[in-house]
Structures are given as C-alpha cells and as structure tokens.
Amino acid sequence: MSKALEGIRVLDLTQWLQGPVCAQYLADFGAQVIHVERPVTGDGARGVRSIKALPVGDWNQYFLVINRNKKSIAIDLKKEAGRDLLCDLAAKADVFLSNFPIDVLRGLGLTYEKLSEINPGLIYATNTGYGHAVEVNRPSYDINVQALTGIMTRQGEPGQPPIYLGMGSGDTYGGIMSAFGILLALHQRRRTGRGQYIDASLYGAQLFMGAPTLQPFLASHNPFYARQQSRKNARNPLWNRYQAKDKWLFLCAENTDANWSKLCGTLDAPDTSGDSRFSSPESRAENHVTLVEALGAAIAETSAQEWLDRWQRVGLVASPIQNLKELSEDPQAWQNDYLMKTHCNEVDREVEIRGLPVTLSKTPGSVETLGPELGQDTEILLMEVLEMEWDRIEELKAEGVIP
C-alpha cells in the first residue's frame, strides 16, 4: 500500500518527548524522518532509565516507541564541520524540526534565517516551551508548563492536591499540534513554493487542552470554572461516576424523564420513579446531592457487569471505568490498531506498543521498525542524501564529526 507522506524528508533534531512524537506521526505515514543525535549518548531519552522519574522495563519502550519508523544519524554539532553537515542535510530536506531551546539553536547557527536562506522551501518548525513571541530561557518539561495553565488545579475533588493529567499528556498534545502545523505549512508551500517558520509550544498546546473548562472561564471569569468540583455536586445525577460492587462505572444519561424512568426500572431498591423529589428534570437537579447519594448506595450493592447488562437492555449508555490491564485486553483498542504488536530487537521478542490513533482508509500508517540504534544510518544517509564519497566519510570519522 502506498504511504501518504512518502517523499517528505524531515530533519528531526529533537529529544525527549514532544518533538519526537511530532516526527513519529509524520514517520508513521511514510515521511523519511532522520533523527539527528549527538554521538555517544544520543537523544536524552536513550538514558531514560537513569532519571527514575518513570518506570521503563527491560526494553527502552520510552525511546523506541516514539522514535519508531525513523532513521538515526549521529553528528557532533559542537564541531563546525558537524554544523556544516547539518546545513547540507537541511538543503535537501522538506522539514527541519527541533525542540531544542531557541538560544541553543542560535548558538549552533541553526536559525530560521540561515536555514531558509540555504533552502527557501524548508519548513522550519520548533516546539518551544512557551511560544515564539517571547523568548523564555527556562527549561520546559510537561508538568512545569502544565502547572502554569491552571488546568491541574481544576481537577479532582475539592481539597485534594492538583492532578497532573498524565505522564506526557501535554507533550503528546504538543506533538500532534506540531505535526498538524507542519502539514499546513507543506500545503501552503505547494502554492507558494516557499517554506515558513512555525512553532507549536508546550504552553500553547496545553492551554488549548484545557478548552472544556478554560474557555468558559475566559468568557465569564467565573471562579467556579477554575475550581475543583465534586462529583457529588453534579446537578445531573444521571451523568456521573458510581462505584458498583467491584468497580466504578460512568453512567452517561441526559437528565430526561424518559432516562429517569428507565434507570428506576433497573434498580433493586423500592420503586423511586414516583418520588416527588426526583420526578422532573428540575427537581432532580434541585435535589442532586440526595439523589447522587441514593443512586450511589443502590449501585454499590451489585456488580458492574450486572449494571451494564441491565442498562444496556433499557438503552442507557454507560461504561466500566477500566484500569490499564483491562485496556490492554480491550478488543476495541486492538481491532483499531490503537494497540499493536511488533518485534523488539533489544530483547529479541514480540512486544506490545501503542499503535496508530489516526486511521486512513487507503494510505494507512504502519509500524515498520521500532526506534533506531544510535547513528545506525549515518554513513548510508550521507551517501544517499548528500551523495558523499566514502573518502570524505572516512575523513569526517577521523575528525570525530561522526562516529
């Protein structure tokens, strides 16, 4: 099958998560992505085990999954010849992508001005921490940027600590945002023949991620939207999380009399459908605290599966609140290739990975290989892309520009 982005060459000078995820989306759909790394240590994520901020396992799933389908070239950018080499590659690329700090890129002479002069068609894409408009020289990691958006203090029950939306939640969002931006710029280039500078920052993406509550807050400045809200205070008790005997459920029913009557029909408790406190949408909203409590008590008596069966029979929509084990066995995730299996050379066995969340019917994405070994494609890329002679490659090795 053909690949949608075949023929697009991406110079991927990124590390850790957001930048690599962006390039991963492009690589999944067939772009040639060249991950540029420093010799010896490479992308910081190759050393993720030592930071102990997250568990890794016996294969480096952190690095290998987000850098799948990519090639790796090792270049010492501290040397002038290394920087020249990168400029030569940029001359032959469609996209230059980096999540290095702007001052580092400037120090390396890899500015938009310089690279676009070498290659006017180049899309120069950065993933900054805080946006292009104001230079902020402060390291940006997912959580310390998420902290600024206000989204964390909005989550969870009142009085509880703020909630981080999940390891890498902002980075992956910034990554897909950046991939979308790059394709916009490629589309524009088709008409103008010229590239441009784009930036998708961690801060910008994470503010957008807060839209469901941040946008109403912006509109009203009503502190309600900035604060934690208890599930016990939901004015529609039919749309809530309830703990069944063995696990939690998410019931998602609009507050209509028809849904109320259906729900009452499934309860073991004495018939509450005639209870005047709950007999209309307004009274259910008015007496929501009592009703959430009463439903909670009733639902706690019986198993989750029993409730799901009963609710399905009457046409009420609900879902079990799964844990990661249940997700890893969920046929819906496997049948859509959201989860996949592939061979991992590092441990020489089949492993399970997150797959392809964007489905194209005629030019689907694919996972051909997991992340590359450091610098594994250096020589061949120099020969193929730059048509370099072997003698010159030997010289570069001798000078320590490439390993």
Partner: protein, 400 residues
C-alpha cells in the same frame, strides 16, 4: 499575509464539541467551512449535560467550536434540501462528520454515497471508538471513551474516585485535523480521496500514552492502583508539595544532579547533605525521606516566595496556578494563545486563540460563530448559483 488553506471547502455536519472544533481549526487557517445545521444532527454544544458546567451569559464553547464558519440551515428530509446538500458536496474537498455509522448509512451520508457526488472527497469522521471492532457504533461521548482508557482510577490520590479530565477529546480534535491534512497531501499527489477516522478512544489513549506504554511493557499490577504523591520515583520530578498559603509547587527536574546545587539553595538544604548528595541517594535509598523533608520545607513559605526563587534560578519547577494566571499572562497574549476580542453582542471578552504559530500564513479570527442559518441565502446564491426567486421558495417551504 496568505492563508494556508485558502480555497479549501469543508462541509461539516457535527454535533459534538470536539468534532466541531476540528472544523474551526481548519477555518482558523483559511478554509471555507460550511456548517450544515440540519434538524437531524443539530448544533447542541450542551456542556452542562453532567450538571457541572453551568451555562454562562453566552455559550463560549459554541463560540470556539464554530468560529470562522458559515452556517447553512437545511432540512435534509426535504427533496430540495437534499438537492442543495448534494450540490454543495460536489464543490467540497472535505466532509467532516460525527454521525454514527447507522445514521450515515440511513441518510445516504456515508462515504460511498458522497463519493458519487465528489469522487475525491476526503471523508473525515470524528468517532467514539474507531472504524472497527465490537463498539464501533457506540456514541461519540468523551466520558465513555475516557472511562475505557485505564488511567481514570490512577491519576488521583489513593482512595479518591476516578477523575474525568476532558483532555482526551482535545487530542482527538487535532488528530483528525492532522489526518485530514495527511489525506489531503495524498490527494494532491494522487488525485485520490479516502476516509479519515480519529476516535475519542484513540485520543484518550494517546493522551495517556506513557503510562499505558509502561504497563504494556511491564504488565505490572502496581500500575493499576493510585500512588501517593509522596511515593514518587524521583522526588524532584513529578511530585507536588503544598506551600504555606495553599498553592502547590511541582518540580520537573528529572536529571537531579544537574539541578541539585541550585535547587538545594532554593529550598534551604545543604548541597552536601549526606542524605541527598547524589542522584542515587535522592532517587533510591533516601527517596521517601527526601519527599517528606521537601514537604515540610515547601510548607514554610507562601507560593509567591517559591515562584520568585524558582524563576530566579531558571529551574524547571513552578507553582501550580489557577486559570487566573494565563488570563493575565503577557506571554499567553503575545503568542495569541488567548485573545481579547470585541464581540458584537457581548462586548469585550476573552477567548482561546491559536495554539499554532505560522510566520507566513497565520491563523486569524475572521468571523465569530454564526447564528443558525446566518449564511443560508448567501451560500445558495454565491456558491451554488441559485436565483433569488428560487431561494425565496426554499425559505417559504422551510427547506432552508
């Protein structure tokens, strides 16, 4: 300044926020996005269906999801309505919908049907659970998908109810926009259209991808229970500590050796404290003790004290702010992540802006969300070539 998607026509039939927002993102970059406001798939961004999002004086989510669009109110049940729709599709590049499969087929709005009208159409579907599998027909409700994703029980502190954040759907919105652009790239090269699907399940899964991938690799039961904030793997990367006056502080210094000297000075620890003087001790044998020490130290001073000191040292650590912060933050405004706008009905308001910067074809707010059917006559006349008298008849018989 040009527009990246100049000339591109998107016809949209969506009712959910996350799906409509995808259309708005294409509109932000210059596509002509025409919402078909049809009775059978009405515009109902009711964010208060859970009773936790009381409506404000104006529907800010509707405004965001429908900015830069035109509205054509059409009765697709009428023969004339269908004829207008078909003519419109023949001019379109992209059809964007969150209709369930059964609805699409019943109403002749499926891919095969639309291909007959426009052979290279890109059919973009915002779905709940993806194109395959036993649950492909479940409705596109973010809560249902988030519940399946595995981390609602573990993002919280032990003993707390599972949390719903609403962030997963935001991934789906942009995944679909990316998928549309990928398909468009292929169409430009090959002349071939196709179906693009991005689901709430996939979006929620990717939003949690590191936790999920760690479980997939290790299948360890410890990933199934919430972990106390004072039991993190690295005391300087991820944990949160309360300050004296309420705001929490979070640290993101995974490489603790690099940041330790500056950080120790900020919190008032001796750089040579024998309990914490190397990475192995901090993240190994004395990990729990360090978190308890930090918990006490951060409680000594107010949030503003920590914010100032952490910024002075340019450390990747910060106070966990409320939404008041970005509202006032000049960086958010300078980047147009947050816009101050004059609304024709509501005066000076703020709205989320544009998360992507493009130097040559920047996103722009060209129009506010349309009222229902605001552009019906205009679209029929200018885009489809109907005469004034024909339009009048359509208006009278309720087709538009």
């Amino acid at each position: 300044m040009s527009k990246a998607l100049e000339g591109l026509v998107v016809v949209e039939s969506c009712s959910e926020f996350f799906a409509s927002l995808c259309g708005a993102m294409l509109g932000d970059f210059g596509a002509s996005v025409i919402r078909v406001d049809d009775r059978a798939n009405p515009r109902k961004i009711d964010h208060d269906r859970d009773g936790l999002h009381p409506p404000e004086r104006w529907n800010a989510l509707d405004e965001l999801a429908h900015r830069n669009k035109q509205s054509l109110a059409l009765d697709l049940g009428k023969q004339g309505g269908r004829e207008i729709f078909d003519k419109l599709i023949a001019t379109a590049d992209i059809f964007l919908t969150d209709l369930p499969f059964a609805e699409q087929e019943a109403r002749g709005l499926d891919y095969d049907g639309l291909c007959k009208l426009k052979s290279d159409i890109i059919f973009a579907r915002a779905s709940g659970f993806g194109p395959e599998g036993p649950d492909r027909d479940l409705p596109a409700i973010d809560e249902l998908a988030a519940a399946r994703t595995g981390v609602m029980p573990t993002l919280v502190q032990p003993g707390q109810p599972p949390v719903y954040t609403g962030a997963g759907q935001m991934q789906t919105t942009v995944m679909l926009a990316f998928g549309i652009m990928t398909a468009l790239h292929h169409r430009e090269e090959s002349g071939e259209g196709q179906i693009v699907d991005a689901s709430l399940l996939g979006g929620n899964m990717y939003s949690q991808s590191l936790d999920m991938q760690a479980y997939l690799a290790m299948k360890d039961d410890r990933f199934l229970e919430p972990v106390s904030r004072l039991d993190a793997g690295n005391p300087m990367s991820g944990p949160m500590y309360p300050s004296a006056d309420g705001p929490w502080v979070t640290l993101a210094m995974p490489d603790t050796d690099k940041y330790w000297p500056a950080f120790a000075e900020v919190v008032g620890l001796d750089v040579d404290d024998p309990r914490f003087d190397n990475h192995e001790k901090r993240c190994g044998e004395n990990r729990l003790e360090m978190m308890q020490v930090l918990d006490k130290l951060f409680a000594k001073h107010p949030g503003s004290h920590w914010k100032k000191l952490l910024a002075e040292k340019q450390l990747p650590a910060d106070v966990i702010e409320t939404y008041d912060y970005p509202v006032e933050d000049p960086t958010a405004k300078a980047n147009r992540y947050i816009l101050d706008i004059e609304h024709p009905s509501f005066g000076s308001i703020q709205s989320l802006g544009f998360p992507i910067y493009m130097s040559e074809s920047p996103a722009r707010l060209r129009r506010m969300a349309p009222t229902l059917g605001q552009h019906s006559a205009e679209i029929l006349q200018e885009r489809l070539g109907y005469s004034n008298s024909e339009i009048e008849i359509f208006e009278q018989d309720g087709t538009i």
